[in-house]
């Protein structure tokens, strides 16, 4: 084994990736509203600028100038800390995403575990935010987030072990290289399905947006948040969607691999955008389950399925080696 961390990104890479990821997350506000509009036979925001693109700027200006209120009954330190956690964890998780050969921040031998660890940490943001708000609905949302975490987190990592077995590494760049002879979405179809369900639950998106659940507990964990703190939760969710899509592409759809006539970075961004649209489609179409349903679905159906997948992949690897 070589040295554990190979830094491949310069400062320019870091700043470029950070700013483009933030830009994409901000643009997703507009993309989501437009796409849901189209799928619901509406138009969505189309007034400001070409195709309504300036809506993003307008939303930003609005959210910056809103009163940033901390309720007097809240636990102030934790209340301020909570929205930062989601931003910090998701943005640092982008460090291991292999955008293209030579583009990325670090080349880390345990990149996959790093991603799993940081995306699990991001749930603290929701739980702490709900707890610190000292509000009944916020607490309900936080409790739901905790219940949801223990139901998807188990099979999330297990669903990826098939990929790790086939490629024999935790290094995300090597996993992408291992897909030269066929993307893992074919051989690990079950793993892909399990991972998609897990990341949707992990990023708290519809149909697993139980911690917010506008219709039941109003806004759940961020009910007391306003101004830029709410904005950080909001952007954090979109960052999480972007990260999840990037990981789906890296692990199952061959990352930057693609026909040679276009640069690898293009293929990575293209595939990621398609998966982001898939997340929006999910939101436009699926209803939200009760959280006991989500838990029993996670434990009684998805976990056995992940174990079966693991068993078969392990058998397959052993059979191919012998």
């Amino acid at each position: 084994m070589t040295e554990p961390i190979n830094q491949i990104g310069t400062w320019i890479d870091i700043i470029g990736i950070l700013s483009s990821v933030m830009l994409v997350a901000a643009l997703l506000i507009w993309v989501e509203r437009r796409m849901i509009g189209i799928w619901q036979d509406r138009l969505g925001p189309n007034r400001l600028g070409p195709l309504g693109l300036m809506q993003v700027a307008a939303d930003m200006i609005k959210i910056f100038f809103k009163e940033d209120w901390i309720p007097p009954f809240a636990d102030k330190a934790v209340f301020v800390l909570a929205p930062m956690i989601i931003m910090v964890t998701i943005l640092t998780a982008f460090a291991v995403v292999p955008f293209a050969p030579g583009i990325g921040i670090i080349d880390f031998n345990f990149g996959l575990l790093y991603f799993l660890a940081l995306s699990s940490l991001s749930v603290y943001s929701v739980v702490l935010g709900g707890y610190a708000s000292n509000n009944k609905y916020a607490l309900l949302g936080a409790v739901r987030a905790a219940a949801q975490t223990i139901s998807y987190e188990v099979f999330m990592a297990l669903s990826l072990m098939g990929v790790v077995m086939l490629s024999g590494t935790f290094n995300l760049r090597d996993i992408v290289e291992a897909q030269r002879n066929g993307w893992f979405c074919l051989s690990q179809f079950l793993g892909l399905f399990l991972f998609i369900v897990a990341v949707v639950a992990e990023s708290h998106r519809t149909p697993f947006d139980l911690p917010e659940a506008e219709h039941e507990i109003i806004a759940g964990f961020h009910i007391e948040y306003s101004g830029m703190k709410f904005g950080m939760f909001f952007i954090g969710e979109y960052l999480s969607v972007t990260l999840s899509s990037a990981m789906i592409v890296t692990l199952f759809f061959g990352g930057w691999l693609g026909p040679e006539f276009l640069p690898p970075l293009f293929w990575f961004c293209f595939k990621t955008s398609i998966w982001i649209l898939f997340f929006v489609l999910l939101r436009a179409s699926l209803p939200r389950p009760r959280y006991d349903q989500l838990m029993s679905f996670g434990w009684k159906f998805m976990l056995p399925l992940a174990l079966i997948n693991l068993l078969f992949t392990g058998g397959l690897v052993l059979w191919m080696e012998s």
């Binding site: 189209i38 799928w39 036979d41 138009l43 489609l281 999910l282 179409s285 699926l286 009684k300």
Partner: protein, 182 residues
């Protein structure tokens, strides 16, 4: 066990079906009418801004009976009865406070002379609340509205100058009851 497993599979497949249906809507046209640029097609009996109409002779239809004011659930109509030299009743003032009006159309239903009518116009925003109070000269239009031939005084039995008892349409002359005496 097998049953619940099958149920789970069916549920998952139905989610995919739902997503497919939603995805098909990518190609269907939006129902949105982009209002200020694109006007809405309203029907003639749309309940919008209220007007007072005139009869075919060009005279006010309103006979100030107050039925509209009574029917109005938000009490936005105020009027005062008066009588001219010909014996016609007419409102001395007629005032509708549109900041209260809910466009329910009860006044139109209550009106015995088709005078008060709702029109297909809803663009009546004002910056000043007082501008929402329409006086009689603001409400009165030159036409007959939705009922072109109706003229209350030509049909009703009330005598006015130039039209005595029994001279209205479909009305027999009054009978002198004393001639029936034996």
């Amino acid at each position: 066990m097998m049953n619940s497993f099958k149920l789970c599979i069916d549920l998952i497949l139905s989610q995919f079906q739902t997503m497919g249906t939603v995805l098909q809507h990518t190609f269907s046209k939006a129902d949105t009418v982009e209002y200020p640029e694109q006007q809405v097609a309203l029907f003639p009996r749309y309940r919008g801004r209220i007007v007072l109409t005139r009869d075919p002779d060009g005279l006010e239809r309103c006979v100030a009976c107050n039925l509209c004011a009574v029917a109005c659930p938000v009490d936005c109509i105020a009027l005062q009865k008066s009588e001219d030299q010909e014996g016609r009743w007419y409102p001395e003032f007629f005032r509708i406070n549109f900041s209260r009006c809910i466009m329910c159309g009860f006044c139109e239903e209550a009106c015995p002379t088709y005078a008060i009518q709702l029109t297909p116009d809803f663009e009546m925003c004002e910056y000043d609340r007082q501008s929402m109070v329409y006086e009689k000269e603001d409400l009165l239009i030159d036409g007959t509205g939705k009922y072109h031939d109706y003229n209350f005084y030509r049909i009703a039995g009330k005598s006015i100058a130039g039209k005595g008892k029994g001279e209205a349409e479909n009305e027999a002359p009054p009978i002198d009851v004393k001639t029936l005496l034996p």
